[in-house]
């Protein structure tokens, strides 16, 4: 399988070293902006983690042209995405749609953050409860500690 990877690598280098090419671009600036925004969300399926906006591969070019064709026909962004997913599957989306399969992906980080925060809270409470509530900790020092403090202040030792 290593040769396959090599071929992919080589074709991505030897292909015209350009992502969006001048001849692909739409004359309507508003449509072109939408096309570029959509391109950044779509994956070039033969590349490693590249959007079709970035990729130089011929397939990416075909997809860019396809996106622009759909936009010119009058599709909404949503319709273009649906069209491509129907044709190429969820794999084409760089931002996966929310579903049962991706719930963990989308909610994982937030869940972890909340769980972490709760964990910190619970641990902190338990931890404080284990310590005798000595507010005196802030107020008084023992004679030895006071001596040590003045020694530090005099000696400038850190």
């Amino acid at each position: 399988m290593r040769w396959l990877f090599l071929i992919v690598l080589l074709t991505s280098i030897t292909a015209p070293a350009f992502a969006v090419e001048p001849d692909e671009m739409l004359s309507d600036p508003a449509l072109e902006v939408r096309a570029r925004a959509l391109s950044k969300e779509l994956r070039c399926m033969v590349c490693q983690n590249q959007s079709i906006d970035d990729s130089e591969a011929p397939l990416a070019r075909d997809l860019r042209i396809l996106v622009r064709e759909r936009l010119q026909v009058g599709d909404s962004d949503r319709q273009v995405i649906d069209f491509l997913v129907a044709r190429y599957g969820e794999f084409v989306l760089l931002r996966p749609r929310f579903s049962w399969h991706t719930a963990l992906l989308w909610f994982g980080p937030a869940t972890l953050l909340i769980a972490g925060a709760c964990g910190v809270f619970v641990l902190a409470r338990r931890y404080r409860a284990n310590f005798p509530r000595t507010n005196g900790e802030q107020e008084g020092l023992t004679a030895a500690e006071a001596a040590r403090v003045s020694e530090i202040l005099r000696g400038g030792e850190r």
Partner: protein, 660 residues
Amino acid sequence: MIAEFGHYALVLALALALVQASVPMIGARKNDSVLMAVAGPTAIAQFCFVAIAFAALMTCYVRSDFSVVNVFENSHSAKPLMYKLSGVWGNHEGSMLLWVLILSVFGALVALFGANLPARLKANVLAVQSSIAVAFILFILVTSNPFLRIADAPLEGRDLNPILQDPGLAIHPPLLYVGYVGLSISFSFAIAALIDGRIDAAWARWVRPWTLLAWIFLTLGIAMGSYWAYYTLGWGGWWFWDPVENASFMPWLAATALLHSALVMEKRDALKVWTILLAILAFSLSLIGTFLVRSGVLTSVHAFANDPARGVFILAILVLFIGGSLTLFALRAPLLKQGGLFAPVSREGALVLNNLFLVSACATVFIGTLYPLALEALTGEKISVGAPFFNATFAPLFVPLLIAVPFGPLLAWKRGDLLGVAQRLVGAAGIGVITVAVVFAMEGGGPILVPFAIGLALYVMAGALTEIVERTGLLKVPLATAFARARGLPRSAWGAAFAHFGLGITLLGIIGETQWSLERIAELKPGQTISIRRYDLHFDGVRNRQGPNYRDLAAHFTVRRHGDVIGVMEPAKRSFPSRGTAITETALMTRGVSQLYLSLGDPNPDGSLAVRLYYKPLVLLIWLGAVVMVVGGGLSLSDRRLRVGAPRPARSKAALSPAE
């Protein structure tokens, strides 16, 4: 002979590593100082033999010895010397050897500079460090031997992948590896502490400089790699959330968290268990990164399944070290005695918050990187997780963290005064709010997010300086006094200020580049002009250049601003006959901290040339910020408190503290 010599040296290094991994640990258990003392010399000897092996491979490259498979596959006799040298790690086998070399360098450094470590701790640390070396030297010898020969030596090599023939290759991987592998020291210290069952504030003081060192190199390595991608790939992207990038970013996030939690442990003897866990996690993420990059699992799950020898070996190493260390952690952590108590609003509390967000951010990257692999392996369903996902999930996690950053250093240990700190940050917040308003007005409306982000960046920068300004009494006392006080401030305070300031700078660069970049794509004939912002680029024509092992088709552009010539730009198409491939050489022109960026497409039959021109405002700040962070790290590293066994400060601190 040289290749065999290197091979043999590597085998000897393995033998030494086996000794170093076992004998000192037995010594530590039996309290036998002779056995424990074996660790130091073997660590240095192990480094020497790995260095010999590495030098041997390098010699094969310099002499273009194509009877060595690795050299044949990755080198060419006409390649410039620099790329012959850096080509050593421009491939799987060589890069693993570099990995092991750096691992042994760190072992040797601990042996040399760890004279004041307790003998048991030192023996255990070096033994753990060496057990990692055993695993990876074995991996090289069994699955990825760079010294293998070909029966009939070819006359010419296949040359290095042209994309890698760049000064970036000479700098980026070594920096990154020093960072990656440097985290092994914190890991070894953590495991040694768990084995011994003893850990205290002194432990954190020993670990922090090593973590800091690794973090500095990791930061530089990531920034360097990002800049390399930026100027090489031809469309000016500098971060792609590519799994390979994520593999280096995750350890960075974990190491950053570790630096902060080790601070709490050193100063307040708290968060011990958590710090140990972070040290284990940070290096585990390095190992996972190595696995992701080196096993081929990223190309496709199937590629991994079809050629599994290497992947399975690294996976075994992963399971052994991560599983083993976490098991040890689970067994021993409950025995560690907890230290200092602190209120939720305190410097410690702020650092806990920092850790919470950094680790969540790290987990986000982790989930996003591994989710598609896991899903495909479990259900066969293929999904992609790319930049849009990470941008959508990572940014919301980082914004609260950035708002909190200036608070941390201003809060007192144990119990802080949030309101008081907020009052001291009024200046910084004011700068932020004014920036938001100004940028909003300049933008003439538009999405509020951009002015907000710019304001946030300036707030972080101003907030980082607040502590320094307050402690030196700048603006209140004469400049000379403030300067004298500034010199008296502990370096670690400067370190924190620089690092946080750098974070703000990077953020500013990121926003500037992503939000305000301009792009022109056009087909030009000689004599035509393309304009962007206030710059006019006149296309003068193309010419051919011959390099040592490539040919350039270079396009010459004269750059004018308001009619005055300010320079030339010469982007090129560079073709390598040895591989029959071509790459784009972009041309950059730096204007302040912004850049003009020009790259070429293929020439058309009618003589015109496709060009892509960008104006990238503030783009250099992205990497400049990283450099400032690194300077902060360096300052902190040079703080005398971190130097173990440093003599007491000569000057009295009492005389230098600001009169408040």
